[in-house]
Amino acid sequence: MAYVAIADRDAQEYDHHEPDTFITKYVWSQDHKVIAIQYGMTAIFVGVIALMLSVMMRLQLGFPDSFSFITPESYYQFVTMHGMIMVIYLLTALFLGGFGNYLIPLMCGSRDMVFPYLNMLSFWVYLLSVIILLISFFVPGGATGAGWTLYPPQAIAQGTPGVDWGILLMLLSLAVFIVAFTMGGLNYVTTVLQARCRGMTLMRMPLSVWGIFVATILGLLAFPALLVSAIMMLLDKTIQTSFFMPAMLSAGEQLSHTGGSPVLFQHLFWFFGHPEVYIVALPAFGIVSDVLATHARKNIFGYRMMVWAILAIGGLSFVVWAHHMYVSGMNPYFGFFFATTTLIIAVPTALKVYNWVLTLWQGNIHLRVPMLFAIGFIFTFIHGGLTGLFLGNVTIDLPLSDTYFVVAHFHMVMGVSPVLVVFAAIYHWFPKITGKMYNESLGRWHFWLTFFGTYAIYLPMHYLGFLGVPRRYFAMGSTDFMPQSAHDLNTAITISAIIVALTQILFFVNMIMSLRSGKKSDPNPWGATTLEWQTPDNPPKHGNWGHDLPECHRWAYDYSVPGYKDDFIPQNVPASGDAPVGRDHGVHH
């Protein structure tokens, strides 16, 4: 292994000059924890907008033609913006910009990111991309309604909402987001590689860091594909080049484009788009592993396998992109290759699931709120993963692609599952971030309604897909093969969706109430081993560690080690000693 003596530890120098004004502390802050919270709040803010958009869509699908503010035009704008916001501006930003920023330096035992100024810049550029995105709702013609995949020609051709300004702002916003992500991403990678504390070997890092680290690498290499396609589409749109635009008609008129290839766009888009799935999933995998191990009081089962699975999934995610394109008109012979690689990726993914379940086995499981969400994640992820085996298998994709089965599948696997992890993570680290405890019973209500509610949305939705109900339809109307009961099912799904959306109010109430008047938390209420729980202050202050950096003496999963009194040994406890004497690890049950 390549570990080297460091000459360059400038970022590790203890900064005695804490920022003192409100502005430098909370606005133009270079502290990774503040930036993490800024990222997280912004992401959750746009996420709530996207959630409301989805409720509007569900209202139309469940009660067609009952609301005058939902027209086909606005419906397709809701669909597009919901998808784009959730995938990019919420999940990517929250997992990497939010959790990545908060957890990497704390878990690695660093004072901050290696480039704090760049880190701050990353957030403000991200905020700019969000603002551009939101402005697009208010320009003439409104936001783009091209679907989140933005396929040309239709994304920039007449007949699609927002074809004048909406699509331009969308592409611009994505380009700005990519700049923000690159600044943040290079920072996370450098920090993980170079700024860990003494003794923190790569294989001693908690899986959260591994997941975020590999996801960041995927993002750095994959987002350029989106940038390339955005640039080329902008040129097609603004100065009439023909990268993607073929000779075609628009409302009966011949356009000046010739010979472009719409399928080329799809290749570039999914070359980004598939790794993007894992950019969201890998941090979730990592975080859930740590939450499970902590609350089961047991080491994560098969840690090495977990790391290798993250790496294998990350690598394989670059060679499966065309499984989104089985019926796109690409050379059909590619179906053989991509179906095979896609099903191969199921193996490391399945191993991760087994290992999570085996972590519970022979544990001592505390079913606190974060753990409920984490186990809920395992369930929904198993479901979403298994339905992926349907769609990844090229033959079965023929009847199922472009139907509600696809919608149900990807919402289960990269909507519900990562969001359950987001909640697990927020509840898990809330005492660290704020120094307060959340309200346990509100948290439980939040879990149960969200978990059952989302399953009630998405399980039946798969069956609409089996029936052949197509996605992205403003209204089904009378369709020969759709019985009335299928329309009724849509209404039931909408009711579940509204319940789930309203349930999220509980979460916000809990967060706000606990922040204002929550019980003061122990520094390490769960009895966790990882370094972020061992900070001298709770919540940690600027510079994280006080005067001395921690030293790492063991891996991140020394739970219930035989022969020790406590059921956990923090990573910074030397091998010779027992748990630190005189410190009360009153484990909160």
Partner: protein, 220 residues
């Protein structure tokens, strides 16, 4: 025809593979004194160097995908090759010289010869600006011949790729300007050494990218 995409995918898998190799032959749950003693930095390099390396990886992905888009679009029947102006050879020579000048500036910066650094940086910057001006002249010449960006996808790619490459150079010139102003306003060579070293690498990288793009453009 999909070879380029798969090639890039290969590069990405290699990056992941490197990490994979780092993690074999460990038993992390066994705490060893050897592990306790490691520094927590995996690479023997300055963190800014790593930042640059990371950025170059991102840029490689970007240019690689452009090239891959180029090769896929080229397959379509309406492609008609562009006759690139010979001026591009002159521009290429400028960029080669700029790269050499930067390398020289780097060497003298390491030796601490401040006045030589001033000279080297100025020459490197001048040659780079000449390259960019030359690229603009090439655009003008093409347009005066009626080869507009909308005329053919080959034209469109030419304009787009040269523009993206030039933008990268402009970004480099910004860093160049900072260190150049610094040494001309009296700072010692030592204060800009790292910046000059990294910029030299960046210039070589962009020269390499240009060489590949140029070879591709004139051969197709």
């Amino acid at each position: 025809m999909y070879i380029t995409l798969i090639f890039i995918a290969g590069i990405m898998v290699t990056v992941i593979g490197w990490l994979l190799r780092q993690t074999f032959n460990t038993q992390p749950w066994v705490a060893t004194a050897e592990d306790n003693a490691v520094s927590g930095a995996s690479l023997d390099a300055n963190s800014k160097t790593i930042l640059l390396a990371g950025f170059l990886a991102v840029a490689t992905s970007l240019f690689g995908l452009f090239i891959s888009a180029y090769s896929l679009r080229m397959e379509m029947p309406d492609w008609s090759p562009l006759a690139e102006p010979n001026l591009l050879w002159v521009n290429t020579a400028m960029l080669v010289l700029a790269s050499i000048a930067y390398q020289w500036a780097r060497n003298v910066a390491i030796e601490g010869r401040t006045s030589a650094v001033r000279f080297g940086l100025s020459i490197a910057g001048l040659l780079t600006v000449l390259f960019l001006v030359g690229q603009m002249l090439a655009w003008q010449r093409l347009m005066s011949e009626g080869a507009y960006i909308t005329g053919n996808p080959a034209n469109a790619f030419f304009y787009m790729l040269t523009a993206v490459h030039a933008l990268h150079l402009l970004g480099g010139l910004w860093v160049w300007a900072r260190s150049t102003i610094k040494v001309w306003s009296g700072a010692e060579a030592d204060t800009v050494r790292l910046s000059v070293e990294l910029c030299a690498v960046y210039w070589h990288y962009l020269l390499l990218v240009w060489a590949i793009l140029f070879a591709m453009l004139i051969n197709t």
